[in-house]
Symmetry: C2
């Protein structure tokens, strides 16, 4: 959490960091500015210091919503630098002024945020050529921000719980919406007028329901049949829903305009459940329960993945451990951290073995089985908070029924 920055910076020998880049998908910027909507600029912070936000003058009022000290490019003389030195050198000279503002005359400076790869390469070359007194460094994962964001403080957990509650309410509405349909003679799911229900219509319904609770969709998967057998296939809008065809519904809304995510998956069969789908589903649910039984505070996270791998392999499923490039069976990791990023620390992958469960983690558990040749995928996912007392608390209460019966009430 943010309170860890001084310690985590000391561990890395960092005297300061500068977060740059744009607004979108830039969780380091969001984290530091408390979600202020600034489209560019910098956040600079010295070890043991507070963040300083520097933005285009047009965005100063939004920047102030961060609660931090804010300055404009103009306050740092950017306009004059630009006219005298051109865009590239002006940008280099700004870094020195940023660091002076937080009292750093020399030292090691970590560069973070999200930006164009090509621009980062050029900028770092210029910074290193210009400044003898500063060492500008990058960092591999797990980074300063990976480690800070891996545990959430009370304010973050309150927001995460709220997103979870609203997401579960929307899933209830989606279930009821589908359930209100009926089937026709050819096994299609249709409305009262006989019009087929499509993937696109379900997604549209879900997106509207999200807006009503001030959330937004970020790449919802609603994937029937063979599409659901590829874990990241999102489903095609024109696809009509059919009775007895399993649908993977992986739903990861976040706060409207950017912010904290929830992540959950259900697999639904409308009307009836074919036996081969039920068999896969039972294996997935056994794996799910096994993961929860294996969990303990302080335990390496990959032990849960390994318990699930052992089980699936014993059941005869190919896995990413027995068949590294497999597209069948259990092809992904058991779960991941979630917060301002849909995927963040801790990892549960069996090949990434650094993480242990800590209080303040928020993680998903999401075993799945995929057989493209049989046009079936099954995945079930909840999100969990690791509480202060070590309990793993689900924040995804929605029922895990595989069978979604039709009421034809609509």
């Amino acid at each position: 959490m943010k309170a860890d920055f001084s310690r985590l910076m000391a561990k890395r020998g960092l005297d300061a960091f500068i977060v740059g880049g744009g607004e979108h998908a830039n969780s380091a910027r969001y984290y530091l500015t408390n979600g202020a909507h600034v489209t560019g600029g910098y956040v600079v912070q010295a070890r043991d210091g507070e963040p300083l936000v520097v933005v285009n003058g047009m965005e100063i009022e939004e920047a102030r919503k961060s609660g931090h000290r804010c300055l404009t490019y103009g306050d740092l003389g950017y306009g004059e630098l630009y006219r005298e030195h051109g865009a590239q050198q002006a940008s280099v000279l700004m870094y020195g002024r940023l660091l002076e503002q937080v009292g750093l005359a020399s030292g090691r400076v970590g560069l973070y945020g999200v930006d164009d790869i090509n621009a980062t390469i050029e900028r770092v070359q210029r910074l290193r050529a210009h400044y003898a007194q500063y060492e500008f460094v990058g960092e591999d994962s797990p980074t300063l921000f990976d480690e800070a964001q891996r545990t959430k403080d009370a304010a973050e957990l309150a927001r995460i719980r709220s997103v979870a509650e609203r997401t579960n309410a929307v899933v209830t509405q989606v279930w009821d919406f589908i359930s209100s349909h009926r089937s026709d003679v050819s096994g299609r799911v249709v409305d009262a007028a006989g019009q087929p229900l499509t993937v696109g219509a379900v997604k549209r319904f879900a997106r509207r329901a999200l807006l009503d609770v001030v959330l937004e969709d970020t790449g919802m998967i609603f994937a029937p049949g063979r599409d659901g057998a590829f874990p990241h296939s999102r489903g095609d809008d024109p696809t009509e829903l059919l009775m007895g065809v399993p649908i993977v519904f992986d739903f990861s809304p976040r706060e409207l305009g950017g912010g904290y995510y929830h992540d959950m998956t259900r697999t639904w069969c409308i009307g009836h459940v074919p036996p081969h789908v039920q068999a896969l589903y039972d294996d997935v649910m056994t794996a799910f329960d096994l993961a929860l039984e294996t969990y303990a505070l302080g335990k390496p996270t990959h032990t849960l993945q390994e318990a699930v791998l052992d089980f699936f392999e014993a059941q005869g499923h190919p896995t990413a451990r027995t068949h590294p490039n497999t597209m069948e069976g259990y092809v992904h990791s058991l779960g991941h951290g979630i917060g301002l990023n849909i995927h963040e620390a801790p990892s549960m992958h069996h090949l990434k073995r650094e993480d242990v469960f800590e209080a303040g983690n928020v993680v998903t558990i999401e075993p799945g089985l995929y057989y493209p040749d049989r046009a079936v995928g099954v995945r079930v996912e909840d999100s969990f908070i690791v509480a202060e007392d070590g309990q793993l608390i689900s924040i995804t209460p929605f029922k895990k029924d595989l069978l979604l019966p039709l009421s034809g009430s609509a």
Copy 2:
């Protein structure tokens, strides 16, 4: 446009490029994959060659929607590399395999896309240390992609026109929604039940209307009074709308799930227009018309900005040219290119003087005047296509009325 890649790569001495990074805000990836929803991986292309898309096996079906040749990490042996060499070195070795796949044994390789700044720094160091046969380079703006995307082909223009039509239809709905209200004795805008209309309610209405036409909001500005006097202040949800207070409504939706943008701004006064607002509005509209008169195919883009600067300065307004760090008067540039990015080439800034108007450009024209101390901002913005015959064609037909009268019909 994409047809220019060979020429633009030759001009830069690039034998290939590799686009990496994530899905969000990564317009280079979107551009090359035709909007396929892949969350990571690479697109690699040799000069005079076709794109190759390489993704996690889970995303192969989505990747294929690009219409290009697609491979999985597994196809390139990533799993084995990971186990043998660890994550960092495996990633380095993958770059060599990507380049082999497009037939490049040695040469100069541009790196593009959007990624974590810290990760880019580390990755480039490792690539340069490992490969003697390849030179990995970044690039400052205007980049290969800036130049390619600066002109749109027919398929892109068709999508851009469609986004424009749908956006204008939504603005009509927003106007009608506000207009259906009435005023109360204290000058608030209220519904039939006397409940005040807020910024949040208008934004909610607009976001729902966007979903209905398969668009999504990306940082809408609906900023009354002093908020509107800061060009990028977005407006606060609880703010109640008041009669006669100018509102800056800057609306930049894009295709749902990522894609092409439209960008337009209107300034509205509900019920009546105070004379000082009308005076600023008249200056802004004169500047708008002046920009259109100044336009010609092949002309440097900054000449429009300079015509507007000359006019505003003659009217006594401070500008970013006379007062470089001003927060009052005309504080920004006249316009910008728009496409898969909300801001892209060509620029119209008076300090960026490289661009000329070319057929296939899509640009905004958006003069504005801002006086925070008087709590008033005025901006009017349309988007335009530069047609084959050189005509500058507005794709933002919505009326430019300043006065939004209330009908009280709701």
